[in-house]
Every structure is written in C-alpha cells, then in structure tokens.
C-alpha cells in the first residue's frame, strides 16, 4: 500500500517535471523561431524596398526559398496600403506575377469566411479593375461581415460601374448591408458614378432612392434640385421624403423653398415638418422666416422648438423675429427665449488680453 503511494507520488513528480521541461523546450524553440522569422522579415523587407526602388529585378527575387517567398508575399501585401504611384504599380505587377491576385479572386468563393474577408480586403487594396466583379458577387455573400467589407472595398476601388450593384445591395432584404457603409462607398466613387446613380431613381425600392437622395445632398450640386423636389413630392416612401428634404437644405437652392414650405403644413408627419423647417433654415432665405416663426405656436412642442432653433440660424432677420416672439404672450415665447439663450451661450468670449 505504502509502496503504491510512493510510486504514485514519484510518477506525479516525474510528470510535472516532464511538463515543465516540455514547456521550457517549447518556449525556447518558439523564441528561436520568432527571432529567425524577425531576422528574415528584416531581410525580406530590405529586398522588397530595393525591388520597389527598382534596384532589384523580378528574376533576382525568384531565388527566394518557398518558405521565405510566402513571408515575402505577406510583407508585399502589407505594403499595398502604404504606397502609391510607381511603387504601387510595381507591387501590383509583382503580385500578379506571383498569382496572388488570381488566388484572392478564387478565395472570395471559399468556405471559410475569414479567408473571404481577407481576399476582399486584398482586392480592395490592390485596386485593379478586375477586382470589381468578384467584389460585387460578395455583396450576396451569406455572411453580413463579408458583404460589409465588400461594400467598403468597392468604395475603395472607386469604379462608377459598381454603383448599380451597390444600390441593389441596399434594397436586398435577403442580404442586408449597412446603409451608412454603402453611402460612404458611393461618396468615395464620387461624381463619376452620378449618372448611373440617378438612373437608379426610376427603379428598385425605397432604400435605394433614400441612398441616392442622401448622396445628392452631400454632393451639393444645384442641378439635382429638381430630382430631389420630385422625390420629396411624389415618392411613396416616408424615408425618401425626409432624406430628400434634408438634401435640399444641404444644396441650398431657393428653388426648393415652395416645396419645403408645403411640408410645414400641420397635416404632414412631425418628423418631415421638422426636417423641412431645418432645410429652410439651411437655405437661409429671410423671406421664409415669418413662416418658420409661425411654427413656434404649433401644438407640437418638438416642432416649435425646432422652428425656434432654425430661426436662430437665419441671421439678423431670424433673431429679430425671435426677439419679437420672446416678448409676446404667445405659446412660442418660451421656445424663442430658449433659442436666443442658446445662441448667446454659443457667442465667443471676448477678452481684453
């Protein structure tokens, strides 16, 4: 019995010692490998820099052993986001010659979603036209994060041809993508995609038209005012109407005033009335101040407060009317006082020093 106990304790001690030894050996080997990898990385980075500076030819790079060449590819991929111009062209040609671009295109259809994400980011960073079609296919990927990355990368690629696919993506209920990410992508594509974007006004769902209205407002071109007025007045979607009103305010064309005024009416939804009020203030035509001030007496306090704030942003005329409202006995006096107080608090402090 006692012997069995001694043997068990000894076995336990031996196993602990063996485990400790194995840990030490593992750590030692790992440190050595990391140190070697770091040394190689530094050498490979120098080679890449020489290659990008055209001091090293492609044939000279072929001497790399297989294990080093994959590390070299990783460093090259990391460099993609850091350089532009001739250096980037050299890098992209090199990655082409290594087959890295074709491999990434194949990886966009692979099972592992992390691999698909990496492939999309790589294609976005490479920035070649051939990346567009595989990235557009990824907008229907089964994973939302992959679709989101694809949207971002299409924006990074900046090809106007991607506009229809991006607009379809915002309407796709089966494969939803974040609305804001699509807006950023469309903004990055910029005015070169505008015609294709405006063509989307006559087809598809409300989310698509909402996105178009938002982008037109952000671009701020007065030539888009009629399209936005038409969306505000005729579109069946409430969201499209709200976004169009806000876009009209951003553009600032006085041509939008009659339409915006129409939607201040009490029969309209409060959110739309508030946005139209803000849009009128953004356009800043002093003729519209009395109309906005009249909203201070509206039964809806939220709208009355928004109207007071809007008037406070309309220069001396707005302030004059607010002062009149503040000294009156009307219901809106408190909102006018509140807006004037906020304005006073925002005024810059002037010191004698």
């Amino acid at each position: 019995m006692r012997l069995a106990l001694v043997v068990s304790v000894l076995l336990l001690l031996v196993s602990i010692l063996l485990m400790l030894l194995a840990t030490i050996i593992f750590r030692f080997v790992r440190t050595k490998l990391e140190a070697r990898s770091a040394t190689y990385e530094a050498e490979l980075r120098t080679m890449l820099v020489r290659f990008l500076s055209e001091d090293l030819s492609l044939s000279e790079l072929r001497v790399l052993k297989k294990i080093h060449s994959s590390q070299f590819d990783e460093i090259s991929e990391a460099m993609l986001t850091k350089v532009k111009g001739r250096a980037k062209d050299i890098l992209v040609s090199f990655l082409y010659s290594r087959g890295a671009i074709d491999q990434a295109i194949t990886r966009t259809r692979k099972f592992g979603y992390l691999g698909r994400c990496k492939a999309a980011m790589f294609l976005g960073n490479v920035g070649i036209p051939e990346a567009r079609v595989p990235l557009e296919s990824m907008l229907r990927d089964r994973r939302r994060d992959v679709r989101t990355i694809a949207v971002r990368c299409l924006g990074q690629l900046g090809k106007p041809e991607s506009v229809p696919a991006l607009l379809s993506a915002v309407d796709d209920d089966e494969h939803p993508v974040p609305f804001g990410t699509v807006l950023v992508a469309l903004m990055r594509i910029g005015s070169s995609g505008k015609e294709l974007m405006k063509a989307g006004l006559n087809s598809g769902g409300g989310q698509r038209r909402a996105a178009i209205a938002e982008i037109l407002g952000m671009e701020g071109s007065t030539e888009d005012t009629p399209d936005l007025i038409s969306l505000l007045e005729n579109d069946p979607s409430f969201e499209v109407k709200v976004r169009s009103a806000r876009a009209l305010g951003r553009i600032g064309s006085p041509k939008a005033i009659p339409s915006l005024n129409k939607y201040l009416d009490s029969g309209q939804p409060t959110a739309l009335r508030i946005v139209c009020c803000g849009a009128l203030a953004a356009i800043g035509d002093r003729e519209t101040v009395p109309e906005i001030i009249s909203l201070l007496s509206d039964g809806n306090d939220q709208l009355a407060r928004a109207a007071a704030n809007a008037a406070s942003q309309m220069g001396p005329t707005g302030i004059k009317y607010l002062n009149l409202a503040a000294t009156s006995n009307s219901k809106g006096a408190s909102f006018a006082k509140e807006a004037l107080a906020r304005l006073a608090a925002q005024a810059p402090r002037i010191s004698q020093d």
Binding site: R45, V49, M79, K82, V83, K84, G85, R86, A87
Partner: protein, 123 residues
C-alpha cells in the same frame, strides 16, 4: 553631405524612405519614434526632417513644436508624413511649423521631389 532625419513607427515606411533617400545620395538617420527623433535632431542637426504625425511617445506635431522652440534647430525644414488626410490635420501641421505635408499612402518618388524642392529652398 546633406543629412535627413526620418521618424516613423511603421518599419515598412521607415525602411522605404530611408532606402529611397540613401539611394539619392543623402545621409539618413532613421528612428522609430518622436522622442528619439528629437534626441537625434539635437545631436546631429539634420538639414531636413521627415516626421510621421501619429508616433508613440511624441507625435510628429509635438516634435515639430519642440524643434521650432529650439534656438539651434528652429530653422530646420520639416515634412510631415501622415495617414490623416483631414484638412484640420494639415492645418494643425502647418500651425505647428511644418514646411510641407504629405499623406499616406505616399509615392516615394513624390516624396523625393518634395525633399529636393524643400532643400533647394533652404540649403
């Protein structure tokens, strides 16, 4: 020989800029952070400094402010190199006393042209 001090915490960019400038005949001092940049600038009095804005310990803007306060170094031209392309960052850089500004991703050739232009005006 014209000496250029380069500071960037990204080893890829540090090496690329270092190589490109050395290849063009400049003596380069390459450092990975702002504190070292300041120390090396005080020791070697470079003819030009290229600084990354977002660096550990001391940002490129902090270094620029310190250089402009130093009587021995205050006239050293400084090019800021940064990933931030926002207008306010450019303004902040120039307000701190930067001579020129480049955003990442950058073209090594363009950087070299800017270096030559800045040195042509000052050296």
């Amino acid at each position: 020989m014209t000496t250029i001090l380069v500071a960037d915490d990204d080893p890829d960019i540090l090496e690329l800029v270092n190589y490109k400038l050395s290849q063009s005949g400049y003596a380069v001092i390459a450092v990975p952070d702002g504190k070292l940049a300041l120390e090396q600038a005080r020791e070697h009095h470079p003819d030009l400094m290229i600084l990354d804005v977002a660096m550990p310990f001391h940002s490129g803007i902090d270094v620029t402010l310190d250089i402009r306060k130093d009587p021995d170094l205050k006239n050293t031209p400084i090019i800021l190199l940064t990933a931030k392309s926002m207008e306010q960052d450019t303004e902040r850089g120039f307000a701190a006393g930067a001579t020129d500004y480049m955003t990442k991703p950058f073209s090594p050739r363009e950087l070299l042209s800017r270096v030559q232009a800045v040195l042509g005006r000052t050296v």
